[in-house]
Symmetry: D3
Subunit: 340 residues, 6 copies
């Protein structure tokens, strides 16, 4: 089953080791973006994953597209053209210093694309699952419009729609986000809602926003998840990651899947975080893997959280791991639970 | 005497060694831009050099400003704010493969600055020489307006105006450039005109554009230089670099100074080019050094061309050399002439 | 038209800059091999290029396959399994020190593959051109057998067969090579014969082997090329590169195409060699590009030699250039001829 | 208010990552030294900070001075000349292996400077605060003499004198140090005394020297701090950092400020140490920031310890952080206290 | 006393930092192998250590031999020749992702050596201690035969034989290993048995194989150690390391020495693991150091475990530490015990 | 025959690629020094070469000694102790910018050694050839005294004395050098005199000092060489390298051997210089190789110059080449002659 993900992929520039931008004279280059990360994970897990975005016709665009292809993603549906590749500068934090990001994505090829560049009947041909995150409609009004057309097409053609709410406070404010999401959510079949997504994206109070303390608010999360399915009855599956982030390096992670009025909880993984980025995308891909392959709900959510915590050990935005490695991490989580 | 230069400074990202953007996963970071390069050269030569631009309030802006300060440039007059730092990707060529540049400077802080942000009576206080290149008015209409105000102020306050024509075909076309320069040139006291500048910036046919063959067109250059002083009588000094670029690595360089109806030619330097960028800025700074220090015209132009060819041995945009090193290179040029 | 190339791709490990293996503690990793290089070049030129080899099921095999995919090569026909990825250590020479290679390719997955692993009716399905070099039959007896089956299939199905003779003295001796090639050549439609290939691979005396002096033996080359078409009448197209290698850094290159009893010569390119590896593969790909696209013979051979000399400016085994870049290098060659 | 700091700045050479000197072939270069680090921190916090030392007239001296300038330090008062730049080799430890230092600072330009090179009436012109650490008088007898002249000048001109005792056992022994400090302390207005400083520098028994166990000796620290103000009544402000260093990576840090017979304690920061160097200098600069800006004592000491623990996340000797980042770390400390 | 160690040394290729093989384009090169690591440790501790293996006559062989010589190992007895140097790719894990190894050692010079290449009367001349690990007989049948001849010679000449059982599941299976070891053990005087060695190499059930839980099985270890001395009465000394590996980064380590019917236990070291490789070899060398220098048993085993945990802080396979550094780590262990 | 070389070995720190010290933040570390370089070359050529100096007891001293051992030099006679390892910073030039060196060798362990630390009867035991360069007596008066004692011992024990005059203008002036050398030369059996050595070290006018023009002064060189043997009749063999250095990258090199009243000239090698350092030491070692192995004079000097020009292709101070590689370079030189 072909899975198409739709969003923005950027050049990520990171100073070596723990250097700051102010002091470095070398940047490590990588390419990533929420929906692209999901596509790469799915391809590495053996799925027929395609990615849709718009890349400039220059070597940076070529490198981004090449990165997707390297890991098996079908890039034949992506658009080329426009002014530039978005990018972001990434300073890895440690100890009391948090990780920092300087975005430089305005005016990118995808951000300046118009909705009529997307011919959904062609782009979604033979697609079984369409995936986007809340970042995509935040990029531009045109992308919001394009997305709506896509969802209409999905509805009409029985394509499953998966959305990771993925609120980004630097891109839009809750008031705007909620208006947009309120239009899109009725089309969503599977929803991933983490951390501040409930409130910022949907206006549902579920989590008080204290990332050092997510897991003990598990009942609030459950209420929020139920509320999503109540408000948007088309959405029958909701998944959430709960986290206690103790420091840049130390965290506890678990996940919940809500499906058919039932909750499936994973054990808590106590993790050492080497690079705390894109773990949510790894989770989304793991979830999709379970859903598409029709794994049991408990196995599905355990697979998803294991994929997610494994990402924390990988450099770059892409979760370059294999299915056996994820399954091995699942078992560590199981052990972890037992030993508590 | 305080010298103020005005323009755009960018982050330069270069793949390691001779790698292409498409294949690299590491970029070397440096900061440069025509007028900033001139300011750094002047500061290293002991002048009181200040730089004016607008840098974002983020670590990239801090790093650019810090780079200027490191080499002794006064950055107290520069503006801060705006969306982003312009940047460019730089692929060093070799053999039959030319050096390549991917610009990503649209929407930068300086490009989006408005003319009224520049309070010239403050910015030009105690300034003796004002330097800009033809890149500055090409950046935006607002900068063109700001520049005109600056030149008015200079005229009224006896500040010497120096302009390196510096045509950039990726930024504007000759037709536009000529209209703008025709307004600015009447204020210019010292003009640097190289290669295609004569025609593209001023509409003067002087050089046929064949960079492998500049030196044997020396008489055409002389005519062009005279023509400038005829058209713009305020401009009493014109300097040009003539080049035979044989390959990415091998070139011959010489320069001519035209002053008070007299031509001063330098010997030809046969140079091995390690990094062929910003040599024109090194030339402009060397010229200014001679003019400000009232060196003899022959010494001035020999100093300028030596500074320029020395730059070809330095990594990055900045000509990190000392006056004794330039003087030593001058002597090599003299020898070179004798041995021909 | 689908083009399938068949051979061995290896991990290339190169000490940084000009370090020797004995002194380095860092190796740059790249992946390449004659036929893989050709496939990548063809894909970058817009062809539907597929590659056939056998890669181990480990991260090194994944990385090699991923490299091919990154640049657009179809890897769906390649085999996976076996013990290891072949590799070679590459010491870049300079001045009087030649480039050195330490091969470590024995026992690789492709070298230990058996002929019955290759189901040619599937592998060559819809293929219009089949490409191999003389390295492939030198790898093992089983590959020689597999190749013969492939050629039989090609003959029976009107698939054009292209062979770059590519003699490798470290893999077999002329006596062995000639026996094998004598069996294979009758199936070859297009043959690339360079340097010592004539004698070592076919037993034809054409070139005395002095690489500092190839171009002035042009008439001998022509005789050799004619002789190939005489001996193997199926082979109607022969192309050769002639070189004067003056030092590790300086060379002159030209090429000849022989087709329909006519010779087409390119101008001589005087080139600065940054990395003297895989230029022959770039030539072969350029030749195929011209033949498949039915360019004029003169344009075809000029395109091929330009692709080849451009490769000398690129790091790694793969000719990461675009068609416009090759066309630009063609013009430099034309100029070069005129200026002599 | 201009703040002048006086000491030695060195080239720091560090093997990559966790390599040992014995095995590395690459050193990362940085420049630092206690008083230079303080000056950089102050400049980054917006103060008018100047640095005084003596640097050789060579590229290493230029690079050190340029580093100061890059981060905004006024270097116009520093001396140039003398034989060499002091340096030290830095091996970052981990786990059970402690961080190692090989000093190579003998015979440096500042160590061989004579006291009459320092014309204090010029050097201290318009200075409001003079800062030195106990390292400065340990460098040479001449510097000790110079320092005494400076302190005399400060006394006569109402310049506040701040001293971080900073005992360095590799430079002198307690007996020598105590004699010298006994002469200098009567001029000191603000004193930073950490760890073994009390005993080694002043002969006051306050702390038993066990760095894994400093915080539980808080009452001994208080006694020591009081004792300093009793012995040297001019010194009305004393600040100390108390630490439990559990391993190279894990520590607890807190600080006490003693002012006007009152103690102000910070919360305990539990920190992950990325690079355990120059945190004391960051503390001193934070303290000065609070004192100069007349912050409340409690805010001052909390700011100072936050600056200090933040340094542990930064590569190199310089605390390249912003005031908002320090204030954010202060709040984490507050939280930390609450959660205990 | 000359100590000869016998085994295989390989090139180790490791991606930078935490990169995966799949994503890296740079490998760090190091050379190591169990018995070579022991020889280097012994040489650094002042012993006359020699190493025996067979290295190819190429730059990789030279580099491996040179590495041994650099750290003082006598390589005059080692053989040269054969096809290649074995190698392995090493991916450093972190958090939930374990460290990964891709072996590529088949067909190496030592693996293809024949037993008659080893002239033991020459090779063991003046040798007092002969050391090998269980890896050596696993490499090939010929090496197994060579080893038996060596042990016969040792027996006849009163050379002490030390064996670290060192089971490697990727090289052979317990059934094979036990047959071979049953022949070799009667010659062994000192045996190191860790983790799964008891069962896999000797068929003794001592440890359940759960590496997160070794220390609490201390009594089972003691039984296993006694059993070895019972079965092989020539073996009067047995040493074991017991570990609780909590994560890639966190472990507890202790060791037991069994000698003359007595057990000597070390304190538990709680360690932060930077690179978890070759710690067993460091342990074996520390043990040998104590035995050869006739230290007290308690001091011997504490020295050995301290050497071992110190290795976890060192990059590469070689334990590049000094005796004083090991003794300092011993004291930390003692403290650790006290503080529990 | 054991060959002992005596001098100073330093840490060499070089910015990456062509960076300047002022701009780099990474130094490549290597270890070298004239006499150490000779010892390494000899060991690589199969000689029993030992090195004598004094190294500090710290990791830098260990690394320097380890480097010697790695390449097979016997370091058992070298002294350990003293304050520091000398070092130098090396900026590789290109084009018109010459290579630059910043020495930091004052106060090193060898420079502060006293003459009585050298017990020559032990140090020279079983030595057949003693080698030093003119740098050694320039280091300190004590080393000059030590050297005289060594030469006395050599004379009395029939040890051949070889001296490369090696004038270093940054270490002493001709007047001093000539006094010292006048005392030492009567003991010298074989003398290498290059470039300015004749005049600066011996007061013999032979070469006008113009390095762009050495070869055409060949007759002056011959006169100078004869003059040496006339003045110091014990010196029966003199060798010189003659060079035309055209640019940092391009040179012509040849050599002359004068022995038994006869001159032996090599062909001229036209060389591309990658790193122009330590070629003289490579020459000296090549000469010694011929003399010790009693090669014919013509072969000896051709071997020496080939070793020297080959060094220009190697990174670092050490000529890491094999005898076959030198012999291959000899043949290129021979060809070069023929083709002229």
């Amino acid at each position: 089953m072909k899975i198409l993900t739709f969003g923005e992929m950027m050049l990520r520039l990171k100073p070596l080791a723990f250097e700051r931008i102010l002091q470095t004279n070398t940047f490590e280059a990588a390419y990533g973006g929420a929906e692209a990360n999901v596509a790469v994970s799915l391809a590495l897990l053996g799925h027929d994953a395609a990615y849709l975005s718009k890349f400039p016709e220059n070597p940076l665009g070529d490198a981004a597209v090449g990165t997707l292809r390297k890991f098996g993603v079908d890039t034949s549906r992506t658009l080329r053209g426009g002014p530039r590749l978005g990018m972001y500068f990434f300073e890895k934090g440690n100890g009391v210093r948090g990780t920092g990001v300087v975005y430089d994505r305005a005016g990118s090829s995808i951000a300046t694309a118009t909705s009529d560049e997307f011919d959904w009947s062609t782009l979604l041909k033979d697609v079984g699952v369409f995936y986007f995150s809340g970042i995509t409609p935040a990029i531009s009004k045109e992308l919001e419009i394009a997305l709506k057309s896509a969802l209409d097409y999905c509805k009409a053609n029985n394509i499953t729609v998966v959305c990771d709410l993925n609120y980004r406070g630097k891109m839009w404010k809750p008031a705007q986000a909620q208006v947009v999401m309120h239009e899109l959510m009725p089309f969503v079949d599977v929803c991933v809602a983490n951390d501040e997504d409930f409130e910022a994206m949907l206006g549902i109070k579920a989590f008080d926003g204290d990332l050092s303390n997510g897991i003990c608010q598990i009942e609030d999360f459950r209420e929020g998840m139920k509320e999503i399915t109540k408000r948007y009855p088309n959405c029958k599956t909701v998944a959430s990651v709960l986290r206690d982030i103790n420091s840049v390096e130390q965290s506890d992670w678990m996940a919940i899947l809500y499906q058919n009025d039932q909750f499936y909880d994973t054990p808590i993984h106590n993790v050492n975080v080497m690079e705390g980025v894109a773990a949510g995308d790894a989770f989304g891909a793991g979830l999709l893997h379970g859903l598409v392959n029709k794994l049991e709900p408990q196995e599905t959510i355990e697979f998803a959280i294991a994929a997610s915590v494994l990402k924390l050990s990988i450099s770059g935005d892409l979760n370059l791991v294999t299915e056996p490695e994820i399954r091995s991490a699942m078992q560590k989580g199981a052990n972890a639970r037992l030993s508590r």
